[in-house]
């Protein structure tokens, strides 16, 4: 027995610390992954509740339920909570659980940093939500209401919620940066012998690339919001024309972060689809190398397209042309990925358990989001689409049946490995069908009302938009309720269920399926050799 394993066994005492102290001080990637996922699910419901308020008000023309200012708080907070509280932490949680297992590493390279990365988040989200919650009780001016994009000068009219929002963004950014550093160091240093980069699972590849994106752009967001802070409190005028500044400069800086950010939210989803589809098609992923290069191309291109969020600000013609072409170009590597997934399915031997259902729906519906994205790239047409519900439809298609469905697919896929129990397959399928149908009911009509002229971020609208809005609201309520099935299924699975085998799924391949289910607290203390 080597000295290394001998020491590791002595370190096992920490696994016997129980209760709150265990979770507060754990440096174990599985524990931390679990905490990220539980936090993310909680925030998903918080953000979802805000969406319910939005859709309830928009159910009919006329203002029935909330003040327009409160409505703006809902749209702002819904986005901030979903992006920074639900989607990003979910992907980090999945990375924490699965990356070490997939590369045959005993844990993340920087376990204490890992613990801090997580625990910043509950604190940051409390900071973010406090002004809104206090406002509900008449204390203070309520939550931020200038949109998650925080454009000045409007955002500078925010009241007391302003510093809370800025510092929450700083903290969440710090958490992401530290997590990303951890991921890169882990992947570059702790792969099992024989696992060259081009032998890594796609989920690991997509997370490696995502981590670089995070490190490159989160500091840019921090810079942007710090300038907002100094503009409001310390007399600078970065974004005030009167003082020699430029509100549009903020938009450039913000979207330089913002565009890679949306790829940060989708690349891990691509990785998940690339794990699940081969498993249930019982066929290797088609075009592995192309998938890697396509992901890298998408990541590179994501840095040079930011101004496509700003086509109506009054940009010079040359700028508009450049950003249009670069944006259209992203369709190529993205298309390659979609074709490769279909080619993986082609002539496979498919079964359609819940993870596969979500993964296929992901490919199908994300592609629809991709189509509206291509349409949006065309500047002359975008002049009509911009700031209308067409854009809302686009990004919700890529984020909800895109990123969120991928996360759900991953949870169903890996729950048996995490818990040692099979989840209830019937309930899973029911959750899937209800979600898939309702997500389309909710967001497809938004294309129509956007094209017909309905702007975004409005609590009330002209009656010609009423019918599709009613459909969208019904879909939204249905979607919201269906998620309770998801939480229930997870809870039951954690508590018990049919015993899961090590391999769990018939076509499952990879190091993570060689450890027992549930995965022991410590795995790969001795690295496996990969042929």
């Amino acid at each position: 027995m080597s000295t290394a394993t001998h020491h590791l066994e002595h370190a096992h005492h920490d696994a016997h610390v129980g209760g709150f102290r265990r979770w507060l001080t754990t440096t174990n990637h599985k524990d931390i992954g679990t905490m990220y996922l539980v936090f993310s699910l909680t925030m998903f419901f918080v953000g979802g509740a805000m969406a319910m308020v939005i859709r309830a008000e928009l159910f009919q023309p006329g203002l029935q339920l909330v003040d327009p200012n409160f409505f703006n708080q809902m749209t702002t907070m819904h986005a901030l909570v979903m992006i920074f509280g639900a989607v990003m932490p979910a992907f980090v949680g999945l990375a924490n659980w699965m990356v070490p297992l997939m590369i045959g590493a005993p844990d993340m390279a920087l376990p204490r940093l890992n613990n801090w990365s997580f625990w910043i988040l509950p604190f940051a989200s409390t900071l973010l939500l406090t002004p809104l919650l206090l406002g509900l009780f008449g204390i203070g001016g309520g939550g931020p209401a200038a949109g998650w994009t925080m454009y000045p000068p409007l955002v500078l009219q925010t009241g007391h919620a302003f510093p809370f929002m800025i510092f929450a963004v700083h903290l969440m950014g710090l958490s992401s940066i530290m997590g990303a550093i951890n991921i890169i160091v882990t992947i570059m240093n702790l792969r099992a012998p024989g696992m060259s980069l081009l032998k890594m699972p796609m989920f690991v590849w997509t997370w490696l690339i995502t981590a670089y994106l995070l490190i490159l752009v989160m500091p840019v967001l921090a810079g942007a919001v710090t300038m907002l802070l100094t503009d409001k409190y310390f007399g600078t005028s970065f974004f005030t024309a009167g003082g020699g500044g430029d509100p549009v400069m903020y938009q450039h800086i913000f979207w330089f972060f913002g565009h890679p950010e949306v790829y940060i939210m989708i690349l891990p989803a691509f990785g998940i689809a690339s794990e699940i589809i081969p498993t249930f098609a019982r066929k290797p992923l088609f075009g592995y190398a192309a998938m890697v290069y396509a992901t890298a191309s998408i990541a590179f291109l994501s840095f040079i397209v930011w101004a496509h969020h700003m086509f109506t600000v009054g940009m010079p013609l040359a700028g508009q042309l450049f950003f249009m072409m670069a944006t259209m170009l992203i369709a190529v590597p993205t298309g390659v990925k979609v074709f490769n997934w279909v080619a993986t399915m082609w002539r496979g031997s498919m079964t359609f358990e819940t993870p596969m259902l979500f993964a296929i729906a992901f490919v199908f519906l994300f592609t629809i989001g991709g189509f509206s994205g291509l349409m949006l790239a065309i500047v002359a047409a975008d002049i009509q689409y911009h700031d209308s519900y067409f854009v809302v439809a686009h990004f919700h298609y890529v984020l909800v049946p895109g990123a969120v469905f991928a996360i759900m697919a991953a949870v169903y896929f890996w729950l048996p490995k995490w818990t040692g129990h099979m989840y209830d397959e019937k309930l899973g399928k029911l959750h899937f069908w209800l979600s898939a149908i309702s997500v389309n009911l909710t967001f497809f009509p938004m294309h129509f009302v956007g094209l017909a002229g309905m702007p975004r971020r409005i609590p009330d609208y002209a009656p010609q938009f009423a019918d599709f809005n009613a459909v969208a609201s019904v879909g939204a309520f249905m979607f919201g309720l269906s998620q309770i099935l998801f939480a229930w299924n997870i809870w039951r699975c954690v508590k018990g269920g049919d015993k899961a085998t090590d391999r769990v799924w018939d076509g499952a391949k990879g190091l993570e399926w060689t450890v027992p289910s549930p995965a022991p607290h410590h795995t790969f203390s001795t690295p496996p050799v990969v042929k």
């Binding site: 009241g159 013609l317 009330d460």
Partner: protein, 399 residues
């Protein structure tokens, strides 16, 4: 009639019925597409949109068709055995090159239309448009005509939380203003857009697009309407609480009618305080009063005018009931120190606003009479009962 003929007639009838059913008018509330709009540029944008959409549909048919076929035929339960292929360089190259070719084909007309959009030369009429929280201001630079364009009073009443008024009963709910932008048909109209406070965006779908109105900067946007009529749109950049309540209305009229409208408005001298509701083309220039307006100025008159003006100009923040909105930082006027304290201070705030807050300076927006009426109303309504009747001369002095 032979069987074949009657079958074909049946099909023709069914197609006709289907076509009629899908006719736009029958489905106005279920409008699924962008308007073609008026003018060549708007039509070109629409065609570009339909072309892009068509490309997407074509690709979707191929990709989704393959997926659905595969889901049906390559399932384990149908006995499908998994093949083992996992790469083909040739296929990869083909489905990289073909999309690039499609994109290039799309980019050519896209670039062409974009260049046209950005060409603001040789315009026939220039109007400066200023976004305010929450209204538009139109300034015909060469004609000396300028005015504010507010959400129409009937819409404004109906949109209040718990108003009890059915939006369907209000004509052009949220899409009507008191004073629209008026332009001649067939003229290339160039708009110079800016803002007084935060970023707004001027959008009329039927005129082919939108442009942001940014404080401290001037953007250009042009349109050319070939058909007379009324075209409606909305602000398209979140600008605060009443972002949804500052519509854009453009009235396109024949050349002769436009000349007439210009003449009427240029000649206009400030008359008695305007109600600011309903009247679209009444000659009002909101400059400071010259003729003194020493008309009979009674408390009752001031209260009546003031209430109406208050609803359209002040109630967005201070609320119709005068209680303000603490949550958003809008102070109440009912029982407030300002509205019951010294009148000069009250007038000063109304005219010059409170810098650093959302309280705009209303001096430039309203006449002395209008401001006097509003302040009078504020000082006497909701139990404030100061009994003050503000003199328009005092407002003029405060400027």
């Amino acid at each position: 009639m032979s069987k074949i003929t009657s079958r074909w007639m049946g099909r023709a009838a069914a197609s006709l019925g289907l076509a009629l059913a899908f006719h736009a008018r029958a489905w106005a509330e279920w409008e699924v597409n962008m308007p073609r709009g008026t003018g060549a540029l708007s039509a070109e944008i629409y065609d570009l949109h339909m072309m892009a959409f068509g490309v997407c549909v074509a690709i979707a048919v191929v990709v989704f068709g393959a997926m659905i076929w595969s889901i049906y035929h390559h399932r384990k339960s149908r006995g499908s055995q998994a093949l083992n292929f996992s790469h083909s360089t040739r296929v990869e190259i083909v489905w990289t090159v073909i999309p690039i070719a499609i994109l290039v084909a799309m980019a050519v007309p896209a670039a062409g239309t974009l260049v046209k959009m950005e060409d603001t030369r040789d315009s026939d009429l220039t109007v400066k448009v200023t976004g305010y929280q929450w209204k538009w201001h139109y300034d015909y630079l060469d004609e000396g005509i300028n005015y504010f364009s507010n959400l129409d009073a009937e819409s404004n009443r109906a949109r209040q939380l718990g108003s009890g008024i059915d939006p369907a009963s209000v004509p052009n709910y949220l899409l009507e203003v008191d004073r629209p932008l008026v332009v001649p048909v067939g003229a290339k109209v160039r708009l110079l857009l800016t803002s007084n406070d935060v970023i707004h965006s001027w959008w009329v779908p039927a005129l082919g697009g939108k442009k942001d109105a940014i404080p401290g900067f001037v953007n250009e946007f042009w349109f050319e309407a070939d058909d007379p009529g009324i075209y409606r749109g909305q602000c398209a950049e979140l600008c605060g609480r009443d972002h949804a309540y500052m519509p854009v209305v453009v009235r396109v009229v024949p050349e002769a009618e436009f000349s007439q409208w210009l003449a009427q408005n240029s000649a206009g001298e400030p008359a008695a305080p305007q109600a600011g509701a309903g009247g679209n083309d009444e000659p009002v220039a909101p400059q400071a009063a010259e003729s003194g307006a020493e008309a009979k100025w009674t408390l009752g008159q001031a209260m009546a005018e003031g209430e109406s003006l208050y609803v359209s100009n002040c109630s967005a923040c201070h609320q119709v009931n005068g209680r303000g909105l603490a949550a958003a930082g809008f102070p109440p006027l009912a029982g407030s120190p300002v509205a019951t304290g010294p009148a000069p201070e009250h007038i000063r705030i109304a005219v010059h606003g409170r810098p650093g807050t959302a309280m705009t300076a209303f001096g430039p927006q309203l006449t002395d009479e209008q401001l006097a009426a509003i302040v009078t109303y504020q000082r006497n309504a909701w139990g404030n009962g100061t009994g003050d009747l503000i003199d328009p001369a005092d407002v003029a002095a405060e400027r």
